[in-house]
């Protein structure tokens, strides 16, 4: 049904949207691109010639791509079989693992990295344990370089494949597999010729997410990348050195690679859409693993993965109670204390850090929530006004612009905002954000608003359109239809999306490290500086508090989404 609103409402919505997108997405990204082609006020390709002639830059491009591809392959190898195992079979321990499976997704990358160092680093629990057990002179391994990065990336990103493959498997009508079996296909053939082709969209989406996340990865390469050069690190390094031209040009390269990946994946995905069969299907049932040996094996696999998943977090908890200086060559810390937490909550400096992160994340999440309603309302009702200004393709353009910050690595978003709002310009109507408190809330908003918009859109899609029609036929005006029918049905989803944006912003590090100022020092910066000062217990305590806050928020978000 066409929703008829007052023309001025649509015009106001359109104005807000255009202003935010112009100033938040179009202008910063354009100004980075423009600056990368400029030197000394004139147009030139010199920046590109310069960076592409440097071996380190080429090397960093190649290793970023290589790490991303390697990560995709490893995550698929781990995630897809696990999804099949847990989605299609039932055995003791299945539920336990399934509950833990997505754990790495909610760990902030920096906290995950820190936990990993405590567990697997050369002076971590595992290495010390083996060293002490076998009485070795040196630690048995060093957590450095490619193997370390691939291991950590697989741990943190395999859930993309696990979750999306699982969801894809649940969507597939069970009767299709039954039909294939009745036509004489073996169960292997069923997987290969019936299930996998239908899973292609899910697998592609997972591959894209993994690729993009790996391209944007920063904390792990920074803390244990060793000699491996990554684009995100090079950009950070160039900015630290004050070589802004180089940082900006490398930022453009990173952005182009990420957007190219998005376009390639989406183009391919478009060719592999399967019309969902509208017929009533047989309900899917998980097969019970009958044979004793297979059952034991499946349970062992599940238990092993459960332990692997929990260990880093458990380590973090343990270390957060370790007394300063009590953990040198021993396997486990020898003395335990509450001092780390006491410091966190007693110290004015530490509580200021929490206050900063909370305020900035709350501002960003609340703004994203309001913004998501603007976008969705505009997409639904602003048809005529928007078409007049932007032509018929405006919906696609709008959705694309909203999506852009999501597709760009955090490094790119931070660098572009810093570049665009470094000085005020009356001509462009820009203002100074760099060096102020507001730069981080703005960056957080831009990075995470696509998440909230998607959450709200997903909730909206679940609302049966005939409900609003029914409300209309019963005499409810457009506003009443929205407030009394649509809003009560969609707000839990939108708020859950806002909560997710809030907790991700709370642990944000990649962008924060580039543009933070003393006035808005966030939690992640505090963790990194504690780590640098070898205050391991304090760093871990920060991480634990973040994890607790995130867990509570995710539980609330999960409740909200199931609420209807």
């Amino acid at each position: 049904m066409k929703i008829r609103g007052h023309p001025w409402q649509s015009a106001a919505l359109l104005l807000i949207t255009v202003v935010v997108l112009l100033y938040g997405v179009v202008y910063p990204n354009l100004s980075v691109v423009v600056s990368s082609f400029q030197r000394g006020g004139g147009w030139t390709l010199a920046n590109y010639r310069e960076i592409l002639s440097q071996r380190v830059v080429i090397e960093s491009i190649v290793s970023s791509l290589g790490l991303a591809i390697g990560t995709v392959v490893l995550c698929a190898i781990v995630g897809v079989p696990l999804a099949f195992l847990f989605e299609r079979f039932t055995f003791p321990g299945r539920r336990f693992f399934a509950a833990l499976a997505a754990l790495p997704l909610v760990l902030p990358p920096l906290v995950g990295t820190v936990a990993f160092i405590f567990l697997c680093g050369e002076s971590g629990i595992l290495a010390h344990g083996i060293q002490n057990l076998l009485k070795l002179q040196n630690p048995p391994w060093r957590l450095r370089g490619w193997p370390a990065l691939l291991l950590f990336h697989t741990y943190t990103m395999y859930p993309f494949f696990y979750v999306l493959t699982g969801a894809g498997l649940r969507r597939i009508d069970a009767s299709l597999a039954e039909a294939a079996r009745s036509l004489g296909a073996s169960s292997f053939t069923v997987v290969r010729r019936v299930l996998l082709p239908q899973l292609t969209p899910s697998l592609l989406a997972a591959a894209l997410l993994t690729f993009m996340t790996s391209m944007a990865s920063f904390s792990a390469p920074l803390l244990f990348g060793g000699g491996v050069r990554m684009l995100t690190l090079e950009i950070f390094g160039a900015r630290q050195r004050g070589d802004f031209a180089m940082a900006i040009t490398e930022t453009v390269v990173l952005a182009v690679i990420s957007l190219a990946a998005l376009i390639v994946f989406q183009r391919y995905e478009g060719t592999r859409k399967f019309a969902a069969a509208a017929m009533k299907g047989a309900p899917r049932r998980r097969a019970n693993i009958g044979s004793g040996a297979a059952r034991v094996l499946a349970t062992i696999v599940a238990m092993f993965f459960a332990i692997v998943l929990v260990l880093p977090v458990a380590t973090l908890f343990l270390v957060s109670f370790a007394q300063e200086g009590s953990w040198t060559t021993q396997t486990l810390p020898v003395a335990y204390t509450f001092a780390n937490y006491k410091r966190l909550f007693g110290d004015a400096h530490a509580s200021e850090v929490f206050f900063n992160s909370f305020t900035m994340s709350a501002i960003a999440a609340a703004a994203a929530l309001v913004w998501s309603f603007c976008i969705v309302a505009l997409l639904r009702r602003g048809g005529r006004t928007a078409s007049r200004f932007f032509g018929e393709g405006w919906r696609r353009l709008l959705s694309l612009l909203v999506l852009v910050p999501w597709a760009l690595p955090g490094t790119v978003v931070a660098v572009s905002v810093a570049e665009a709002y470094g000085q005020s310009s009356a001509l462009l109507g820009s203002f100074v954000l760099v060096g102020t408190f507001w730069i981080l809330p703005v960056v957080y908003f831009l990075r995470f608003m696509p998440l909230v918009v998607r959450a709200l859109q997903a909730s909206m899609e679940q609302v049966d359109p005939t409900l609003e029609e029914a409300a209309g036929s019963l005499g409810a005006r457009a506003w009443q239809r929205f407030v009394r029918v649509t809003l009560p049905l969609v707000w839990p989803g939108a708020v859950a999306g806002g909560l997710l944006a809030f907790v991700i912003a709370l642990g944000e590090y990649v962008a924060s490290v580039l543009v933070f100022v003393p006035a808005n020092r966030p939690i992640s910066i505090a963790i990194a500086s504690e780590l640098r000062d070898f205050n391991l217990g304090a760093a871990a305590a920060y991480g634990v508090v973040l994890i607790v806050i995130i867990s509570i928020s995710m539980m609330v978000a999960g409740r909200l989404e199931r609420w209807r």
């Binding site: 005939t466 209309g472 036929s473 019963l474 409810a476």
Partner: protein
């Protein structure tokens, strides 16, 4: 002046013409049916009456005033949706009261009208229930209660019974008709089920491919279909391709069938309907195709052979071949009839209908 009147209404979706030039009148107090196969445009027509779709051209008038551009909330028509469209976040009472709240009724009046609406659909005391606790049939009744609670000027039904199982459907059907009559309401009812339309409606419009083919009382439509599409959609029909013979008189047409080359006689009312030397279709219902093993010299007796007998319980369908002309006959008993047996087929003139084009 008609109560509700559609004038040359058209609606396209992209390049498909969903509704093409539909005109119809509904009288006050009438139970009016829109019947047709799926995708024929009947639901789109109903949605245009409700105001949920806007016609590309043409106009809709209600009690003499043009409502073509009136938004649905200002029409005051109650609508019952195919999937009921009950608000999942509201309980039964709140669902039924929804339209009353939009009209800012007082609490007491709301209470009274919801209670009486729930009583009318035989769900008294169900107000506090959540809608997803109800069975399909009960949800259906809530949807009807919600639509009648606003005392609608017109009641619109979009295949409301199609989600119910057969026995419940027949029971609800008669209750629905009784309720609408008792409240003195005017209703427009969309369905693809011919039996349902015949049982419920005073008058029916048959739609095929976006066009309105024929409007009439159920019996008229069944016995005197004007078009091939109507004849073949409403129940089973034998369609016989034939050519009018030049020797036929104006009051009694003589036709030669193209298959079998039999001569058939039937009364012709409109001379213009049967031009010479142009193939036309004659229709006869299977139940009117008589089979006989003896010859009694009746008009239109054709020699034939029985090809197949399909047993349906109370009735059987007999497929016969009259020298290449294949016909279906519906008989009550198959006494004495056997496959490959010769017999006589009698197509009595009063049951043969001449179709347009």
């Amino acid at each position: 002046m008609a109560f509700l009147s559609l004038k040359n209404v058209s609606r396209s979706f992209g390049s498909t013409r969903a509704v093409a030039d539909v005109s119809l009148d509904v009288a006050q107090g009438e139970f009016f049916g829109l019947l047709g196969p799926s995708g024929c445009g009947k639901t789109t027509t109903l949605r245009m009456i409700a105001g949920l779709e806007k016609p590309d051209s043409g106009s809709i008038e209600f009690q003499g005033s043009d409502i073509t551009n009136l938004p649905p909330e200002r029409r005051g028509f109650g609508m019952v949706f195919q999937n009921y469209a009950l608000f999942p976040h509201l309980n039964v009472f709140e669902n039924v009261a929804f339209g009353l709240r939009a009209r800012h009724k007082t609490k007491a009046e709301m209470e009274e009208r919801v209670t009486s609406a729930l009583e009318l659909v035989q769900l008294p005391g169900y107000g506090k229930r959540a809608v997803d606790e109800l069975s399909g049939g009960q949800q259906q009744r809530v949807a009807i209660a919600r639509a009648i609670a606003i005392e609608p000027a017109l009641l619109l039904f979009d295949e409301p019974l199609s989600n119910l199982d057969v026995s419940l459907r027949e029971e609800t059907r008669s209750e629905l008709r009784e309720l609408v009559t008792r409240l003195g309401l005017t209703a427009v009812y969309v369905t693809h089920d011919q039996e349902e339309a015949f049982a419920l409606c005073d008058r029916i419009s048959v739609m095929v491919g976006g066009k309105l083919m024929q409007t009439g009382r159920p019996r008229e439509l069944y016995e005197q279909p004007a078009e091939i599409s109507v004849a073949s959609f409403l129940g089973r029909n034998n369609l016989i391709k034939a050519m009018r013979l030049s020797s036929s008189k104006t009051s009694e047409g003589e036709f030669k069938t193209l298959e079998g080359e039999h001569t058939l006689r039937l009364p012709v009312k409109h001379e213009d309907l049967a031009p010479l030397n142009k193939p036309v279709y004659l229709a006869i219902r299977p139940e009117h195709v008589q089979l006989s093993t003896s010859s009694n010299g009746a008009t239109n007796t054709l020699p034939a052979t029985i090809r197949e007998i399909v047993f349906f319980g109370a009735t059987s369908t007999v497929h016969v071949d009259a020298n290449g002309l294949l016909l279906e006959s519906l008989v009550l008993g198959t006494n004495g009839l056997k496959v490959n047996q010769p017999c006589n087929v009698i197509l009595s003139p009063e049951h043969l209908t001449l179709l347009k084009n």
